[in-house]
């Protein structure tokens, strides 16, 4: 499971990095989204992977049997902040497109 998840994180990262190196703002926003998936999964993974052990307390359960709740709460915060920043990036990208007329990340097409 660890191997699969880390591979998945790697592929998400690679795709994301590839995209944020592209010249179009839309590529960048998709890239950033992919990267935030990767990072969220990464944070989630550092607590160790446990199947069917959600940190929902039941009476008399051994606390070591639960998945680590801290990375989960960190991921929740990260998801919210990621959502907010994606929205912001979208709007800035639109504003830039509106003002410059292009969707190039530098606000102008590269001279040939």
């Amino acid at each position: 499971m660890e191997l699969v998840l880390s591979l998945g994180i790697g592929i998400l990262t690679a795709s994301g990095v590839w995209l944020i190196l592209r010249p179009r703002t839309y590529q960048v926003i998709i890239g950033l989204s992919l990267l935030s998936y990767a990072v969220n999964l990464f944070i989630f993974g550092v607590g160790g992977l446990k199947k069917n052990a959600p940190p929902l307390l039941t009476d008399g359960a051994d606390i070591t049997s639960f998945a680590d709740p801290v990375p989960q709460s960190l991921v929740l915060t990260a998801i919210v902040i990621g959502f907010a920043t994606t929205a912001l990036f979208l709007v800035v990208m639109l504003a830039s497109r509106g003002l410059t007329g292009t969707d190039h990340v530098d606000g102008k097409e590269k001279a040939k």
């Binding site: 944020i20 703002t25 960048v28 950033l32 990267l35 935030s36 990072v39 990464f42 944070i43 993974g45 550092v46 607590g47 801290v70 990375p71 960190l74 915060t77 990260a78 902040i81 907010a84 920043t85 912001l88 990036f89 800035v92 990208m93 504003a95 830039s96 003002l99 410059t100 990340v105 530098d106 606000g107």
Partner: protein, 540 residues
């Protein structure tokens, strides 16, 4: 700090937060009310910050009573989030408030009308900054970093316009990428050390098995990159001159402290985590700071020389000051570090004043003038047949005041006496190659040379620009400047003068700060000895 005043530690975060929240209930067009709330909040912030600084300075042995540690939610360290008030954080909070008032005052003349929610964003920026300065928790630092950044995005693009939005887009992408790095770094720290509390982390570092220690170092390295990006280290700083020069004047003014946030965290973490040399990476990290800092100084100085527009010149000056600070932190040594703290304060005030001033100065210039002046200087030898009329031209009062302010900024930036820039640089240099330097190594020579040369570059660039602005183009229109716009500049510059005059006591504070920081045990003990409020009354 005891009793209710203990709660004041959280006040620098809550005051601007509450002000911003209340302003959401006020109609956008009722700017006067918003301005009043904003101003009141900032003044209150300054008062609290001064109180906090006094208390922090009074806490001679923080391990005695842990008076500066605030347990949020009454959860003990390292489990809950703690705020830590020590000399350094108190200094930064005070500096923020000190810079905020002039910037805010400046905005009241016209800028706060240039877009929606200026005051809310401004207050939230202060909240983010104060939170980042005070927190003792790594993830909480991330959160406040994001608060600060989010507000800075809004403020940077306040007033809209092509330049701002273009710069804003770059700024945003870089910071989004660095936020992701931050998250990776923090989670690596948690995954390897099992804690998020900085003091706890420093404590746990000592006995980590090798496979965890390596990953932890990777995490710390990534965190370092994030803060270095914020601080503007070369080659991760190309966004900075664009962003700072595109921002409206009051925003750029308050942004002067933003790059210092990165420096602050680097300083804090390097003292805490690298302080006891438990990590093999410690010396390498110091070298990286030193040489990358110097590279930043060089790049910044080159940029200062190469800048046509004042805004970019100022942006590159920010880089120079960041580079200087980083290099000195990497260099180490008590005197140089104290000098660096002094320099941090001085350069923040300077940059704040300079950014505000730039707008006033440029208001009088027509767009193409600066371009033309430089090209003339380069290609044509200046017209020598000019009438040698030996009668002076009287500058209008506004121009006179502006030119005095400009000269002060030039003096401060180039580190010339008598203003605080000189005191700062001299103290640093004295700790690097002067009477307070242990031995003069080659690193010391390089550092000193570059610091001095960067001052020279600033002098050359500022002279060129200043002469072109104030001496060569008197015929240009005299800018219409309001008192409320020039007063903030004067206030900030007066503070640098005060900083020079009071250099002794101020430097004593800095010395104490560095002494405190250089032994991480002080900080760790304070955090762990903070006690919860007695249970029973409120908890079930």
């Amino acid at each position: 700090m005891s009793g209710f005043s203990h709660h004041l530690i959280v006040a620098p975060i809550l005051i601007p937060f509450a002000a911003a929240a209340i302003m959401l209930f006020i109609e956008e067009r009722n700017r006067t009310a918003k301005a009043l709330i904003s101003l009141a909040s900032t003044v209150l912030l300054l008062t609290v910050a001064m109180f906090l600084m006094r208390s922090a300075h009074g806490m001679d042995s923080p391990n005695g009573e842990a008076g500066g540690v605030y347990l949020l939610g009454n959860w003990p360290a390292p489990f809950g989030i703690v705020l830590v008030l020590d000399r350094l954080s108190a200094l930064m909070v005070l500096l923020t408030a000190t810079l905020a008032i002039p910037a805010l005052g400046f905005s009241l003349a016209r800028w706060h009308n240039a877009g929606a929610h200026f005051h809310s964003l401004f207050q939230l920026l202060l909240m983010g900054l104060n939170g980042a300065f005070l927190t003792g928790d790594l993830f909480n630092l991330f959160v406040f970093f994001e608060v600060m950044l989010a507000a800075s995005y809004g403020l940077l693009m306040h007033g809209s316009g092509q330049q701002r939005v273009k710069a804003g887009l770059h700024y945003l992408v870089i910071n989004l990428a660095s936020a992701l790095l931050f998250l990776i770094g923090v989670s690596l720290v948690y995954g390897t050390s099992g804690t998020l509390n900085m003091a706890d982390l420093a404590l746990r570092l000592a006995d980590l098995p090798v496979e965890r220690r390596i990953l932890l170092e990777s995490g710390l390295a990534l965190l370092g990159i994030v803060f270095l990006i914020k601080a503007g280290i070369w080659p991760l700083n190309f966004w900075l001159p664009n962003a700072y020069s595109a921002a409206s004047a009051p925003v750029a003014g308050i942004f002067a402290i933003l790059s210092k946030l990165g420096i602050y965290i680097i300083l804090r973490l390097s003292m805490l985590v690298l302080g006891n040399d438990t990590l093999p990476m410690a010396s390498m990290a110091r070298d990286v700071l030193l040489y990358a800092g110097l590279a930043t100084v060089v790049f910044g100085a080159i940029g200062v020389l190469a800048s046509q527009a004042l805004g970019r010149l100022a942006g590159y000056s920010v880089l120079v000051s960041s580079g200087t600070l980083l290099a000195v932190i990497g260099f180490g040594g008590a005197t140089a570090s104290s000098g660096a703290l002094f320099y941090l304060v001085s350069s923040t005030l300077t940059m704040g004043a300079f950014f505000l001033l730039i707008e006033l100065v440029e208001r009088g210039q027509d767009a193409g003038a600066s371009m033309l002046a430089v090209t003339m200087e380069v290609y044509g030898d200046v017209d020598e047949d000019e009438a040698d009329d030996e009668i002076g031209v009287t500058m209008p009062a506004t121009m006179a005041v502006l030119s005095v302010c400009f000269s002060a900024c030039a003096i401060l930036l180039s580190g010339l006496p008598p203003l605080s820039g000189f005191v700062a640089k001299f103290t640093i240099l004295s700790g690097v190659i002067g009477a307070n330097a242990p031995t003069a190594t080659s690193a010391a020579w390089i550092t000193a040379t570059l610091i001095i040369l960067s001052g020279l570059c600033a002098l050359i660039a500022m002279t060129r620009t200043g002469m072109r602005t104030f001496w060569a183009s008197i015929e240009g229109t005299v800018p219409r400047v309001l008192v409320i716009e020039v007063a903030p500049v004067l206030i900030l510059l007066t503070m640098t003068l005060a900083l020079t005059a009071g250099a002794g006591p101020v430097m004593r504070y800095m010395d104490d700060t560095i002494t405190m920081l250089s032994d991480p045990r002080n900080y760790i003990n304070a955090v762990f000895e903070a006690r919860r409020i007695a249970e029973g009354a409120i908890k079930p």
